[in-house]
């Protein structure tokens, strides 16, 4: 491989998109060519700079809600079909028949709508977690001391975040911040697990499309577990307060933290 070819393939090389033979050729060329090796270091530095420092602009939550409303879910269409039929006059026998057919369909539509809504909650939880990871100042209060973190939320939220797990050696509490979950404010607690960051979002639970399995306490009663874009998410609600736990840590570890949170809240 010559310098011209090396320059052409540098970015593909850095992004791991070359075949094994081409990659090996380029690596050999770089090892023997100080000029190309320098270009490689410069390109790498520029990529790092852009990836780490260029401000990212995530979509505002209000816009996401508008987009979700603009793109109707399939369940809405099914309900309209049922409703249209319901409005028309039919003989009593036909009504009975219709009920026999439409009641199971209604529940199917309802569960499908719940599934769609739950997917939206999972997507939002993952987006919030990513926003926290990408933020240059993710934590507004940084402390390993829970008694500093919890009072910090006073006056910043329209509810009291019912979280009593102080963090421990396995899952140290790193700090907290105020965020948003869909249309409402959320208390964000950041826990660590080895090199992973785990976000706990706490928010008002009412009028959200909770999945059926999310009522109860993790560790005691089942919560709803899902995976989205490589992140594991556990959703549960207890009374008026909802919880979303998000991380790239393994489901088993996340479940262990959820159980600790459930036992302490």
């Amino acid at each position: 491989m010559d310098c011209r070819e090396s320059t052409t393939h540098l970015l593909d090389y850095q992004r791991g998109r070359l075949g094994p033979k081409q990659e090996e050729d380029l690596r050999t060329h770089l090892a023997g060519c100080p000029s190309c090796s320098r270009s490689e270091a410069i390109e790498r530095t520029l990529t790092n700079l852009l990836e780490r420092r260029l401000p990212q602009h995530p979509a505002p939550i209000a816009l996401k809600l508008r987009l979700a409303a603009q793109w109707p879910s399939p369940s809405v269409t099914k309900l309209s079909w049922w409703e249209r039929w319901g409005r028309s006059w039919v003989p009593a026998g036909a009504v009975a028949l219709l009920l026999l057919v439409s009641v199971p369909m209604y529940y199917q539509a309802l569960s499908s709508r719940q599934a769609g809504g739950a997917a939206r909650m999972v997507t939002e939880a993952v987006n919030d977690h990513l926003r926290i990871l990408q933020s240059q100042h993710p934590l507004e209060v940084e402390s390993g001391n829970f008694h500093q973190v919890k009072p910090w939320f006073a006056g910043k939220l329209d509810f009291a975040p019912a979280v009593l797990f102080l963090g421990d050696q396995e899952f140290p509490l790193k700090g907290g911040s105020v965020g948003y979950f869909l249309d409402r404010k959320a208390a964000v607690f950041s826990y660590g697990y080895q090199l992973h960051v785990i976000s706990l979002l706490v928010f008002r639970a009412e009028s959200l499309p909770w999945p059926a399995g999310a009522t109860g306490e993790p560790g005691k009663v089942r919560a709803d577990e899902r995976t989205a874009r490589g992140f594991n998410v556990i959703l549960w609600r207890k009374g008026e307060i909802g919880y979303a736990l998000v991380s790239d840590a393994a489901p088993l570890e996340l479940r262990r933290l959820a159980a600790k949170l459930g036992a302490a809240s």
Binding site: L46, P55, L63, Q70, W71, P74
Partner: protein, 181 residues
Amino acid sequence: MVLAEGSESRGALGREALAYADGLYNLARYLTGNDADAEDLVQETYALALRAAGQFARGTNLKAWLFRILRNAFISGYRRQRRNPTVGGLDTTDPHGQEAAPGEWPRNDMEMDQMRNVMAGDIEKALMSLSEEARTVVLLDLEGFTEAEAAQVLACAVGTVKSRLARARATLRQLLKDYAR
């Protein structure tokens, strides 16, 4: 029944499409230079995608399809309204050192350190002063698109993406030189 199946698949497509809202908004924000126009552009993109959902072939690249719709909407909107002529241009020639010789800066380790220390706001300023095409190709690369996928978004040849990206990055380095300290 056909309608029900169609709307079912449209709904599934919608849910998948919404997962790209953040990436689309980021590109829209860097294309338009302000939040209000970026919101309008993303909303228009989803409206156009919803209307054309029947034409989308399942199994093909949804992300590239959405980004292409957004960019086309931006270009037609720009031509139609020219609401914000101060932000970049649609000219294919880059006003800032299109012919910048690669490798000109940084020249040594000290300058490389200077580049590493450029602040976030300055990087944003440098990116915004690139032409629309150059800015887009840099952002698509950061968004994780391969050159072949970026070529789909920009409706051009893969080789064109490769040379545009190399030129855009060389120009960016020249611009960053002014902010380095």
